[in-house]
């Protein structure tokens, strides 16, 4: 066993780095552009004939002028002011599945054979890429039981939008104009509802049963009618209480002619253990930038891989990748008769596809099962520790004893007894080199925080994190002011004047607006 050491002397890098514009020094150059050869220069003549005055830019953009090393240093410093998975025990960002993104996959995606291929090249010249897409498609089919996957959507929300579009088109083709309602649950991701509404559906939210935390089945049954077009839900929802009634729910939807879409954002604990198709779902998606290890990149690139059953294949966005047996080659198939068209240009984030593929190829069937197994063990282990050792913490819906791979806790007790809220804890925990996150809106669980250990952290790592929570809550009871005035060792101090973000007179979404409103200056003369 290694050691468990809470970093009490941690201090985050704090560079007090100016905004890049403030580094601007007239005449400095960051990089030179390839110059035009003499022959080309001579043949082009007057620029005016190529781009007339009326459409030519008169004033150059007021971009900063910064020499190369200074640009590099600036951004490296900023990167030091970020806590990525590479740097911290990132289990506090629940629902984000902050797992290890293997560096070998970075080596692979940086290959020129990946970065320098164009999607519109003749298919013969990109067989390697097509093969990998095809293979990942088949791997995901195996894991989920669905018949076909596409990788076009650039994230979970866009995948949900794709699924909502498929549901819409499906009923359109069937002539079901009366079917305009989608059922979802309050504890599913907010995008489940939002994307359904974009496609014109009315959304019916099912609240959780107050005791079990599961969608209330009576409410669910009451919500069904012949207007039900389908259901889009998470299972488990963000509370990660697995819904044992899920098959009943999908059956009920099918009985009224609806289709069931699976938001599999919380799939980490289910790999190899549960197959989507067995639960009665007709379509679903995986987040390759969560479950399948592609790094989060500050908020993207993401990829929501959407899979469907055979009957829905013709609705998928085009193209899909198929294999021509006779010609022995992979090709792009645009011929899907009921296609919803496209949600994004081209075929999807290939680097993300490649990373997911490489990750699965290292793990194989047994490895995937181990991922799920360890996620579940890690999660329940952390849960027991938190409930036993962290004062003021409680679990949402305590009637259900165990969860899948993450838990939504509550600091309501802490707030009531010590007057310290979850936001205070979030700020204080950064002093130890950690993150902590609350919950999606709406806050059904009061003072929520969500911990998702995943399979990537060792027992010592988990112990260290819990030690952090424990220390802070103890401090909250003894010396609440310290917690409330945190952070002390993080990158910046507290912002108190929220009007900077809400008051249109004050808000500053860009540097130029900030200068204008708060310093009475322009970016550059």
């Amino acid at each position: 066993m290694g050691i468990v050491k809470l970093r009490k002397n941690f201090h985050q890098s704090k560079w007090d780095e100016p905004i890049i514009f403030e580094l601007s020094t007239e005449n400095e150059r960051g990089i030179h552009v390839p110059p035009v050869e003499r022959d080309i220069e001579e043949s082009s003549g007057n620029l005016e004939t190529l781009i007339p005055e009326s459409i030519r830019r008169k004033q150059p953009p007021s971009l900063p002028e910064v020499a190369q090393l200074r640009v590099l240093r600036h951004y490296i410093r900023l990167s030091q002011e970020v806590l990525g998975v590479d740097v911290n025990i990132d289990i506090g960002q629940g629902t984000c599945t902050m797992k290890y993104s293997p560096k070998i996959n970075e080596v692979l995606v940086r290959s020129r054979k990946v970065t320098e291929i164009h999607p519109l090249q003749p298919e013969d010249t990109v067989q390697g890429a097509l093969e990998i897409i095809y293979n990942l498609d088949h791997i995901l089919r195996e894991i989920s039981g669905f018949s076909r996957f596409v990788f076009q959507p650039g994230g979970g929300s866009q995948a949900l939008y794709t699924m909502a579009s498929i549901v819409y088109r499906y009923h359109q083709v069937k002539g079901n104009t009366h079917k305009d309602e989608i059922i979802t649950t309050l504890l599913s991701h907010p995008s489940d509802a939002a994307t359904a509404k974009v496609k014109g559906f009315k959304v019916i939210d099912i609240p959780p049963d107050q005791e079990t935390g599961l969608p209330d089945m009576d409410a669910f049954r009451e919500a069904i009618s012949e207007r039900t077009a389908g259901m889009i839900i998470c299972n488990p929802e963000d509370t990660e209480i697995f819904n044992p009634h899920i098959k009943e729910m999908t059956s009920i939807i099918h009985e009224v002619g609806g289709i069931c879409a699976y938001d599999q954002a919380n799939a980490n604990g289910l790999l190899g253990i549960v197959r989507s198709i067995d639960l009665g779902f007709d379509l679903g998606f995986y987040n390759l930038h969560k479950t399948f290890s592609s790094p989060h990149g500050c908020g993207g690139p993401g990829l929501g891989a959407v899979g469907v059953i055979k009957e829905l294949e013709s609705f998928l966005p085009i193209p899909v990748v198929d294999y021509d047996e006779s010609g022995k080659k992979y090709y792009l198939n645009f011929d899907l008769p009921n296609t919803i068209g496209k949600v994004r240009e081209f075929y999807g984030s290939f680097p993300v596809i490649l990373r997911a593929y490489a990750w699965v190829r290292v793990l194989g069937e047994e490895g995937l099962r181990e991922v799920a197994k360890v996620s579940i063990i890690n999660n329940n282990y952390v849960m027991k520790k938190i409930l036993n050792e962290v004062k003021g913490a409680s679990i949402s819906f305590p009637k259900t004893e165990y969860r899948v791979s993450q838990v939504r806790y509550s600091f309501k007790k802490l707030a009531d007894e010590a007057g310290v809220t979850v936001e205070d804890v979030i700020r204080r925990i950064t002093d130890f080199g950690f993150h902590l996150w609350t919950s999606h809106h709406p806050w059904i669980v009061p003072e929520p925080f969500t911990i998702e250990p995943t399979e990537s952290y060792s027992k010592d790592d988990l112990d260290e994190y819990v030690e952090g929570l424990k220390t802070i809550t103890q401090e909250a009871y003894e010396n609440p002011e310290r917690v409330k005035n945190a952070p002390f060792n993080s990158v910046i101090h507290k912002i108190q004047d929220m009007s900077f973000f809400e008051d249109p007179e004050k808000w500053a979404p860009t540097w130029r607006v900030y200068l204008r409103k708060h310093r009475n200056q322009e970016v550059r003369k």
């Binding site: 629902t95 984000c96 309050l186 907010p190 509802a193 509404k197 559906f201 009315k202 959304v203 019916i204 939210d205 099912i206 609240p207 107050q210 209330d216 009576d218 409410a219 669910f220 009451e222 919500a223 707030a415 009531d416 007057g419 809220t421 936001e423 979030i426 996150w437 609350t438 919950s439 999606h440 809106h441 709406p442 806050w443 059904i444 009061p446 002011e481 409330k484 912002i495 108190q496 004047d497 929220m498 009007s499 973000f501 809400e502 008051d503």
Partner: protein
């Protein structure tokens, strides 16, 4: 209503970081004791005094202390305006605040008029927030005095709080006050003031009505940047609901609209007259009855296709029976019972109930039972939350 909000924002933003903030404090020392002790007759007050003389500590003061402790981070930044002795002076001075006593208690016992005078005076002195400890009675008195002109937060100290102006506890109240005074909360919500006829209450008769609205800072639980939290603005939510309802109205139906800001937003959006605190009827986009009683309602709707649009009132989630008794069992049955009821509610309203169902108490137990069950509550534009109604 909108103009009030703007002037309040100006006030809040004007009192920037350096200026001393003025807040009012009203403590009702015997809050809730009336109903709890079950007073009967005119010698009720003596009983309370006797109980206090026997050492029973007034509950209010303890709760006031807890609230003021949570406010201590602002000790040097605020000045508390309050009334003498138990009405706030004692506890504020005890904790070291800069206190100004602005009036006196007329007569021997603290009365509703004292509360009203205190609140009026605080407003006059420029208080930007009034904190109070009390029950529905105190709430009503403050409303009588200030209406929507100054924001208010209450520490619940009564028995059953119907009004929706209370924080969930003393510390929460203090926290909310701190956030508001620091400019971290910009939004103010109108929350119901429910008036209980205490005389009838002591005799076991519930007579609760929607009395008015007070302005309460809306705690959006702001977290900078996180992946989520905080609610949609109440007003935007109400407007979304109104748009949905209006879209689905037809010309054959009479619509009974219960009291409350959420229901009346519908009429407001249609730019017709309405009574905020009463029951109105809409037909073919025109108001055919304003602030009606049960008899008037029945006269209009009998034999007609009718729908009842109601929203839960007050902090307890009562859908029927507290504040809208004009929508009586006869009205409901004449309209067609459960299927004629359309419930509208903002998300925040529902979340404030923390999972507890809406309640109905029409005084007809059989009807109450029939009305209970799951409803598709309209919580936004093309959004419905399934929610339970129970009889209580």
């Amino acid at each position: 209503m909108g103009a009030h909000m703007e002037s309040l924002f100006e006030k809040a933003s004007q009192s920037g970081g350096e200026k001393i903030k003025k807040i009012g404090l009203i403590v009702n020392p015997i809050a809730g004791m009336g109903g709890r002790v079950g007073l009967k007759g005119t010698d009720g007050w003596d009983i309370v005094e006797k109980a206090m003389k026997l050492g029973a500590k007034p509950w209010s003061e303890e709760r006031a202390e807890r609230m003021l402790r949570t406010l201590l981070p602002l000790l040097k930044e605020i000045k508390i305006f309050t009334y003498p002795g138990e009405m706030g002076e004692n506890i504020a001075k005890k904790l070291g605040y800069d206190v100004e006593v602005i009036g006196k208690i007329e007569g021997e016992r603290i009365s509703a008029e004292d509360t009203r005078r205190a609140a009026r005076e605080m407003t006059r002195k420029g208080c930007e927030l009034i904190l109070f400890v009390g029950g529905d009675g105190t709430t009503r008195d403050i409303y009588d005095a200030v209406g929507l002109s100054v924001p208010v937060i209450g520490v619940p100290a009564g028995v059953k709080m119907y009004s929706a102006v209370f924080a969930t506890g003393p510390e929460r109240c203090g926290e909310l006050a701190v956030k508001y005074l620091r400019g971290m909360i910009k939004e103010l919500q109108e929350r119901e003031v429910m008036d209980i006829d205490e005389e009838k209450y002591r005799n076991g008769i519930f007579a609760v009505r929607l009395y008015g609205y007070l302005m309460v800072p809306y705690d959006k639980r702001y977290v900078i940047g996180g992946k989520s939290p905080t609610g949609i603005s109440e007003k935007a939510n109400q407007e979304a609901i109104a748009v949905d309802i209006i879209e689905n109205m037809d010309d054959e139906t009479y619509y009974i609209l219960g009291p409350g800001t959420t229901t009346k937003m519908i009429l407001k959006k249609m730019e017709v007259r309405y009574s905020l605190l009463g029951v109105d009827i809409l037909y073919r986009r025109k108001v055919v009855g304003l602030d009606l009683n049960e008899r008037d309602i029945l006269r209009i709707i009998t034999g007609k296709r009718t729908k009842i649009i109601i929203s839960p009132l007050g902090g307890q989630g009562y859908l029927l029976g507290r504040g809208n008794q004009q929508i009586s069992p006869s009205v409901i049955m004449s309209s067609g019972g459960k299927k004629s009821i359309i419930i509208v509610a903002t998300q925040q309203k529902i979340l404030n109930l923390e999972g507890k169902p809406f309640l109905v108490d029409t005084n007809d137990p059989l009807l109450d039972r029939q009305l209970s069950g799951w409803y598709r509550v309209i919580t936004g534009y093309r959004e419905r939350w399934m929610y339970r109604v129970e009889y209580g």
